[in-house]
Amino acid sequence: MSPEIGLIVAPDRTYATLAARARRLGFVRALRRPLLVALVLGTSMALSTTRHVTPALVFSTTVMLYVIVIGQILTALAVMPATRAHTIGRARALDLFFASHAPWSLWLLAASAWAPSPLGRPVAPVWAAALVPVVLTPRIIAAYFRQVHELDRRQAAVRTVVHQILTWGMFLALYGAAVAIWPRMLQVVS
């Protein structure tokens, strides 16, 4: 079974195996998983918005959405403990962390294939399906802290919660700025 699918099925066992074979990685090699995430984001966006792909379009959407990957790298580095990362190297620790993105990657690809539209398929199943990565991702990240960084259950849970707060907080801040959240909140209050 591939590590990405293994993490969905049995996160602790999979991360334990990956951590046991942990080896130092160069930073360029460590970018393979973040780059794949960016490609998934960019291609899914191109397909969702236009139903077609070209090199120029996918390059543009991927570069544009790389800001999300950078945000994910920063939040990961912010919550990553220094001790074990010192042993295996930050690059490998980051590489293993990005393996946890598989549930979201699969959801993005599924959503772009479903392609809801006002004249076609409804959007509700896409949001309903998002519950799967919303539930799976914290479970995988907690396993990452336990197995890769050898933290106890409580420490791993705390770091997972902090990571989720940072990630969703960043998402809400960016989204809030983009949709002009302040007048909308005033509307709700009034």
Binding site: V40, L47, T61, A180
Partner: protein, 299 residues
């Protein structure tokens, strides 16, 4: 080692998929028709873009607008013009599609939204519809009531309609149910009662899933320029076309574009065909396989 070869092969297939998609992406020149002495342009005046809550960058929207047989569109992010600033900074991107791109803002206020077209900086959103419309006019733009549904109905009295240049008479929201369709058309009729020359606007409110140009506006312009477009909106020489192929607008103009609306609503994008679908499917499948195969040896 064998899996590594599979990954390299999948990357290759992904790139091939993109190039197959590009081979199907042949642009065709779109000649706007003439009607009654006017050039008829097709436009979408409510489009969200990156950076903002839209899924595409302005230059990609321009390309997509051309595929969807549009001649003009406006960037209307919420109370922000970053994406217009970005486009101006990368000026070469504006010349590539042949589609006229206009600056704009969706003025997002408490209880109502107004698409402000032809202005390149945000306007004050606090105030009534009349106040916001005045601020837009002072900046040289036109003010269009955005998705004026029952929720925002309270904000639009007769004075508000008279202050506006246009109203969205066609919007993807009206495709959700017969009730919402009725609501949109009732508000449009109330607007025409108060302001007979108010422009009927069809807009997609594009973010991600509703394609650019799904609902569109036909403009009867004297010149295919930014000022020509704004003048046609101010004069009310527009017809809104909903995604179902029906026109909404003044009797003097609506019959002139009834056929265009029906054809454009049903037509696939230019270049959409076997190669385009093959490219998209190939790229999607190879990416899915790359995610499933994973980045290192099995566990």
């Amino acid at each position: 080692m064998r899996l590594q070869n599979v990954r390299i092969a999948l990357c290759g297939v992904f790139v091939i998929g993109l190039f197959i998609g590009a081979a199907g992406d042949r642009g065709m020149p779109h000649m706007p028709p003439m009607r009654d002495g006017y050039i008829v342009l097709a436009g979408d005046f409510h489009v969200h873009s990156f950076p903002g809550d839209g899924g595409l960058a302005p230059w990609d929207i321009a390309h997509e607008a051309r595929r969807r047989r549009l001649d003009v569109f406006a960037l209307t992010n919420h109370n922000a013009t970053w994406s217009w600033t970005l486009t101006r900074a990368l000026d070469w991107t504006r010349a590539t599609s042949g589609v006229l791109m206009l600056p704009g803002v969706e003025v997002t206020s408490v209880g109502f939204h107004i698409a402000a077209i032809g202005i390149d900086r945000p306007v004050e959103w606090r105030g009534s519809v009349v106040d916001v419309a005045a601020a837009i006019h002072a900046g040289g733009g036109v003010a269009i009531a955005a998705h004026p549904t029952a929720e925002s109905r309270k904000a639009y009295g007769a004075a508000a309609f008279r202050a506006l240049d246009g109203i969205e008479a066609a919007h993807p929201g009206m495709l959700e149910s017969e009730r919402s369709r009725r609501e949109y058309l009732e508000v449009y009729r109330a607007a025409v009662d108060a302001h007979p020359s108010i422009a009927a606007i069809g807009s997609t409110d594009f973010h991600t899933w509703a394609p650019v140009g799904l609902c569109r506006t036909y403009l009867f312009v004297r010149a295919a320029t930014e000022s020509g477009v704004l003048e046609a909106i101010r004069a009310g020489r527009t017809v809104a076309c909903d995604g179902g192929g029906e026109v909404h607008g003044p009797d003097a103009f609506a019959p002139l574009v009834r056929d265009e609306c029906r054809v454009d609503a049903a037509a696939p994008p230019i270049g959409d065909g076997f190669l385009s679908h093959l490219g998209a499917t190939t790229a999607w499948l190879s990416l899915l396989a790359l995610v499933i195969v994973g980045a290192e040896e099995p566990v």
